[in-house]
Amino acid sequence: MRTIVLALLALLPAAATAQDLNSGDTAWMITATALVLFMTLPGLALFYGGLVRTKNVLSVLAQCFAITCLVSVLWVLYLYSFAFAEGGPWIGGAGKLFMASVAEAAVSGTIPETVFAMFQLTFAIITPALVVGAFAERMKFSAMLLFTALWVTVVYAPVCHWVWASDGWLFKKGLLDFAGGTVVHTTCGIAALVCAVRLKSRNGFPTTAMPPHNMTMTVTGAGMLWVGWFGFNAGSALAANGNAGMAMLVTHVSAAAGALAWMAMEWFKYGKPSVLGIVTGIIAGLATITPASGYVGPGGALVIGLLAGILCFIATSFMKRVLKVDDSLDVFPVHGVGGMLGTLLAGVFASAALGGFSGQGYAKGMDMRTQLGVQLTGILAVAVYTAIGTAVLLKLTDLIAGLRVSGEAETAGLDQTQHNERGYDL
């Protein structure tokens, strides 16, 4: 009994009391949490929904909403504990199971722990929701649910712990990942690639035309993602301060630069700038700045955004036209490549010695060379672990529930065959 009590006491945020509570920080973090949830519901749902064919629009919305609900419940049950409870370098402990120890008065830093837990939950929600883009239009709903539950347990929670928990091994190494270049974008990007390869292409890809059925829906979703991303990045400051302000500024700059760069690439290569290109460039810019957002300055963000637009554009074309891998909604080339690129660039533009492109400076004892080493370690470790984990979990899911709908169901559409519903009745 005594051991349990001592263990529980040890898990309380050290020395944080109600007096540390800052209402400004708390107000901002509650808002940021809402903004990030808004990114998934309905931001990402609409963004993805518009990109698929009419017969599958509901399936995408259903997947985003169902993932939100599933991950939320699992978070309370055990994911929050595995991610953030004190444990070891690889995984959190059991101290926050059922969030039983998260009392109303519990404080994390300067905000209530409930708010911190909620904020982190919205990240755990959007990460598997992003993976939906890779297997859109052909994955069984049941298999998707099972896979998601397994994936957030085996991949997301541990990686989150490595990078953002104070006893995580990458945290201790000083990995710069402010808002999820590795935890969110690299994991979802790599998982998407593995899923796309494993599930194989949609019937008819790449010769049959599968254009987006509703670009206005997609663009609406993109707008919500941009605005919501301020919660994602500036909220990762966990406070209402200059760090958050700068994170918001660099996020915005990178989005704008990414869009212009993609637009230019497309204009040059294909002759016309498309709206889809503009919004994809925005997302590429946002994904790439994510890990760097708390460490760089606006000059660095400009470069990061431009590189994001250019490199993610090339990666997308490469995946579609050369590799012909059907990552249906380009999750890997945009989020995966962007996240990994941004994590690397965070190590460059954090430097305070780059003149107009300077960032906030390295931690004590680090310089560009050593920091880049850590960044690379983080990227590789997360990428490799995610790839292996995802492959294994897909195999397991296949054994239990199958993965892909039948050819007939795929042709009839998932809305009808998986949900008995129609998206439109015009």
Binding site: P206, A209, M210, P211, Y270, K272, G277, T280, T316, K320
Partner: protein, 112 residues
């Protein structure tokens, strides 16, 4: 009696309606269709994936006519729907065996 089916470019619908009214043809059924004859489609691009869209939107007009009206109607449509560019469309004339007005039960010429 004859059934007339005309496939025309969508933006020509108003002109064709007016032209038909001018020659005394009231009533028509209009459907949105897709098709092509010799007109080439266009290419659309989505994130690098190129699609040739060759099923082009057209408007199909169906008219049930008395024999006496057919020539005037064909003429009116042909003139008003023409642009001179490939893809202007076609007119088909079928023999119509019977027509019934549902409200009154009239048949034949009175029902057209």
């Amino acid at each position: 009696m004859k059934m007339l089916i005309a496939v025309i470019k969508p933006f020509k619908l108003d002109a064709v309606r007016e032209a038909l009214q001018d020659v005394g043809v009231q009533g028509m059924t209009v459907t949105e269709v897709r098709g092509f004859g010799r007109q080439k489609g266009h290419t659309e691009l989505y994130r690098g994936a190129e699609y040739v869209v060759d099923l082009l939107p057209k408007i199909k007009i169906e008219l049930a006519l008395d024999d006496a009206q057919v020539d005037k109607a064909v003429d009116a449509i042909a003139k008003s729907a023409k642009t001179g560019q490939i893809g202007d469309g076609k007119i088909f004339v079928y023999d119509l065996k019977e027509t019934v007005r549902i409200r009154t039960g009239e048949t034949g010429k009175e029902a057209v």
